[in-house]
Symmetry: D3
Subunit: 304 residues, 6 copies
């Protein structure tokens, strides 16, 4: 399916430097083709881990404290003992970007799992020792094609979960339900899946958070059934400061179809415009003015 | 936590031969310590795969057709193209047991993921090529200690999911919600988690299916919110043929607390007795007569 | 949108005789262009009515007793006093087909509303007098194109309702939620919408009932959240008698995607094959063998 | 049932001038008895349309921009292309009141449906051409009897719907579920139905929005499961400005039974007092002081 | 409210002998006016107990084993240690009827609570000693007036609970939710409340189980959300043996309104006809033929 | 079980003066061993009543107006006519403390039930006369042991109810579901049960309200699914005035496990620290600083 990836919410411009990046695996650096984990790793066998996506901008990791807090909080909630202090972890990340001589435009994925197990079963008591820590740093500039065309969303029949089934605040390695939602979108020619909450209100996309613009106001869901997004929080803050009203509310698909504009947010893409949902053009079917404005404000913020 | 594993629902007698097993990874065999997958593998980064647990008894894979059917059906449902026919896959499994000179008492875990990705993101369109196939065969005899003592269950607050969130019929690598349920049980000194369905009826354990015995009848949940278990189906069939009435019904925790006996079923353990739930003894707090009987019948069946 | 109707679940072969049919309106016959109801009619203003679709085969109304029972039961449940006995109503229908000199291949839609109101408001106490009865008879032969290609379904995000919101057993004039589901399907190039029940299991299509074939068995939903279909009941009965096992069960989208065949049933189309769902081919992406067989059996039944 | 209508939430004083009003139907004016639509109209056959109720006060349509916005937004959400600009539509409404020489005290119902269809089926692709537009203007002064006695409500067992079943923000022609709720109320001698949301909190009446007064505060539901009412919004705004605290909250039947006062709001009646619910007097069983006050403020507002 | 009790589902013919019955309280007999429990009793302060209603017919306690089983199972589920064997308990009941010289036509209510507490709080660890056992035996012949008129039901907005909130199989002293449902019925002039399950299907009455007759078949709910009734089970068994088809199914209010007959069952009244629901006559608004038949069969059974 | 009560959320220091308190029963005072109600009392047989817990501090009943308001509002909602004005009721309470010569450190439980019934059935129309009023005043100083150790909570599988099942705002005598939740906690060695709402968010404890501290902010649930606590409201008010931000929000178990501190509130204990939940230490597993601070503020408030 590879050629369709140009219009993924996770797309990025191809960059040949990525072929030779060194990957951090439990303190060691390896060429990307040799970076590996045991088949007994809890991440591989069970999706038993948490991760963070981060950006390196002008030599600095953007919002690093928020990312590290979320990582440690997630690890604590699933009872993985990281074995490094937060500061030590930040140093390992910088070590990785430095090892790759990266200074800007890099996207880092840090993956933390329960480590190698005695046998590939579900029981965490079979973990043998320390967790697995992998840090992948790659050059990823958001794909400009997306701004000319915008994302096409399909509302999936897969719903966001209640916290007694799976707490969406947890940035976990168990992502198959989101992949299934995305597959529904891809199968009918769309790029990303929009997802409803258990009551049928609009909640989240499969890998990004979702916003609409109505009469100049910015609307997004309440946080109960969407990702605990760091970019999302920043966009809300910046919009309030510099543009106008933000409402964190329950809203419906009908209100989404008739929105003036729509966009998604994520660490990699920042603000990405949405131009159609369920085969219907949003607004004029082009990236909207308010979307462009908040995107510019966000870019200015991250480069300042 | 390792020493507590004796009373896991997934426990087995230690066997030194397991130290030197060869693991099948994409057609190659490697010593267990060297068996690895890329950190870019969709299984590792996302829990994006399906698996099967199987038993080798007297040189034969037990219920191999049912296992392979479930594997292929699961792979189809998440759109992974395996690239091998069912017969070819069965041959790869036997090749693995033969490579290890195993003839009996082995447990095999076959793991199938969407393979290596261009970058560790959620989008399946970034998969680079064929899926990853890993086959781990180990000697696992159910731990006899469990029959003297029985499992202690705790009913978790984590609920089994509806199919619009995650279809439990899918034997996936995204298992973190079950691990969280099990952690609740472990944290208060129990061995396995019992789980309720979204309406509050008894549904499943975190890695096994659940049965109670009331007045000689065997009760188990309806199949809507529990695992699509092959051992479960066989137990139901054998009980009907050789013992008495089986009811696949919605039942409550109160009916469970006052049951005469309880047990769980799984590929590895077959029938495993449950002796307490939520700190309350079930029946006399010892493995029950009917449990022992159906366990014997099942053992006879698999060795015949 | 008109040209796309060839592949609607409600499509039929064009027939010039329909241009001159006479429509029954409260006991009078009018040319179709003049057949009208007051803008104060409860049907027009509020969807306050019930209807039946029926077929005339070889001079006889198929399953007329079931249709009339359902009509009268529906009218009673919303407290519309029809003012005609069941036999009288049947005579009015035959009067309509005779007036149009129809003997075979006709489809009749009988619409019954709370009648003209004093003012167009919601309150049934403002109804002025007798209900409105409209009978439209048209020549409608199922469109053969559908058998070469099959229907393409999209699973809608609109869910079937619980009976405390709207009882699906009621064949009502308030159909906008189903139209919205169908619009989602049309907007991404599909023909009919598949709908889930409130728990996420597969329930119904927007205007037809839904069946899958798995390993030779026929599966359909339980009746709690789908239409109380007369064709559906007949298909279940005929399949049991002449083909094999029918299971009225809760099943999931994943089980639907991996089904061998799928079809829908309705009064107009009888059995209509489904060849793709959510962009995925069902079976080989062609009308299936079992579908063809039960369709033939049904046709034989209705013409016998 | 007609004589009971005096105490409907939709009641109005009889006015002989209504016998001779001219009704607007697709640009033409006809006497009320001749105003009709085709039996093939999507509104009649399927409840496939949206409507607005408006008031003419001192020659002006009250809150006309809000009404027109809601109409166009609703039409867009069900994909009906109106074919007139908003200004043109407003002119058609004034044309209707002028044609009837109305200057004050008129209530207008504008009904917009998907228009005439090729055949009376559910599929919107069978619509033949432009939508149907009907404008009914009548003299409707709220019935003074209601202020001496107040409305008697019954809490219906019919629940307000979630937006994945039917979005209550849509002012649609598919109203049968609300009529069923109202029938329950009428059958035990009440005037209007109170309805709960899916979780059991108080949400809405069948044709009006619902408010209670507790210790001088005004409470009403959150907007998630009640009508998107224009009068409701105005009452909330006026109360905040001129009286005191308004809380848009989830509240329970018990809190409603023990409220000091209760009332409903709608375009036709403005503020209408509620004096009993489920056979229990609210407050002293008479229209309350705060209710009278906000009603007076509202009347003053609309006549200013 | 006392005079209305003639048409309660729990009504009975007045009998002066009841004035002088002796009540069993923890092994002692007292005149009814002196029969008391401590204000520190867990039953009084918290509804912390279970009870049984039983009938004495021709010197024998009807279905005594089922009643005692249910009592002991309920006590076990809330962890009250009764301190008597089942046989001993049966002897205490007979001792009570003998003490009162009762041989026929008596209704016995056995109440078992957690006993006196150190202080009136919720925590069961504050119970001081043995449970409280109270046995009240009274002459209660079903009120014949009910057969001439039938019960009038109102469907309450109070729903039957899921087992994760309160397991309806438990015959407990915490009955306030049922009393609230009944109050809604009484307040609008009805006799007993009909209750829906969490999904909106018909489940139970507030103190009895509910049945409808449709086309000669007997329908009742599935048992998931209604009382675990001993009379209910017997009626189902007798109907199957002597009359015809019984369906334990999910059915709707619409199907109830259009039923041919309806009745309720309970220990005291046996079979009691229902003639109206929500202000609508059921069938002809009189006790039905099938109801009378199964009532006769049941009476014959209990007196045989 | 009595010896475990030291660590109940409802524990208090033993006080020999309690042995000789006089209890108020319907206007009379009796020694505690003689204080009794009829076995026909609606409270004993059915949990049909409401209660209040109050504290006497320095001769004054703390927050007496709020308690009396809640009592009268609850009684009204279940239609018990108390027969005393609020002022008269307050005098009866003071009469009780004076009778016992209590001036400080007393805890009063006022219990109000529907009174003696003609027969022990569910129907409120069988109540014979005035309600039963019982006032128990005892010396209860919070147990200091709890501050050294803190409460251990277990999250129960019993959920808080929706208001259409049982309105948690009602302080009722039907408490068995909460007792069942607490039994689950006790059975695995914990002290009080934490309970989730129907969607899986954290709601309440079985007899107290629940708070967490995260980064200095105080979080508690929204009030929809927890007790309408008077202490809770006061703590929220005091925290806002004197400490910092309070958020009444939906939060999850994961956010609870990773909280810095946790505590519960109730009339008896005021603020009681929580040190572990589900076997996991909260914060450092000791009463927290913020908890201590708000507890001190609250104590200062009640003694000022």
């Amino acid at each position: 399916m590879q050629d369709q990836t140009k219009y993924s919410a996770q797309s990025y411009a191809a960059d040949p430097r990525n072929d030779s990046v060194k990957v951090y695996v439990n303190g060691e650096f390896c060429p990307r083709n040799e970076a590996s984990v045991s088949v007994f790793d809890a991440g591989f066998a069970l999706g038993d881990g948490v991760w963070e996506g981060m950006r390196l901008i002008n030599g600095k990791l953007l919002a690093i404290d928020e990312h590290i807090d979320r990582l440690y909080s997630g690890a604590a909630s699933i009872q993985i003992n990281i074995g490094l202090s937060k500061d030590e972890m930040i140093r390992e990340i910088y070590k990785t970007t430095e090892k790759n001589d990266m200074h800007d435009g890099a996207h880092i994925r840090l993956m933390l799992t329960r480590g190698t197990k005695k046998t590939p079963n579900q029981d965490p008591r079979f973990a043998l020792g320390p967790p697995t820590i992998v840090i992948v740093a790659e050059y990823k500039a958001p794909n400009p094609a997306i701004w000319s065309k915008g994302l096409k969303l399909l509302t999936s029949t897969i719903r966001c979960s209640t916290p007694d089934v799976f707490d969406l605040r947890l940035n976990s390695h168990s992502r198959l339900n989101f992949i299934q939602a995305l597959l529904q979108a891809i199968n009918v020619g769309c790029d990303e899946a929009l997802m409803l909450d258990p009551r049928g209100f609009v909640a989240s996309c499969n890998s990004t958070n979702f916003f609409i613009v109505r009469k100049g106001e910015l609307w997004t869901s309440t946080g109960l059934y969407n990702f605990n997004g760091i970019t999302r929080k920043k966009i809300i803050k910046l919009f309030k400061e510099k543009v106008g009203t933000v409402r964190e509310v329950d809203f419906t698909l009908a209100e989404t179809y008739s929105a003036d504009e729509a966009f998604v947010t994520g660490t990699l893409g920042g603000v990405t415009p949405v131009t159609s949902i369920d085969g219907r053009a949003i607004g004029k079917g082009l990236p909207g003015k308010v979307t462009t404005k908040i995107s510019d404000i966000y870019k200015e913020f991250i480069y300042s």
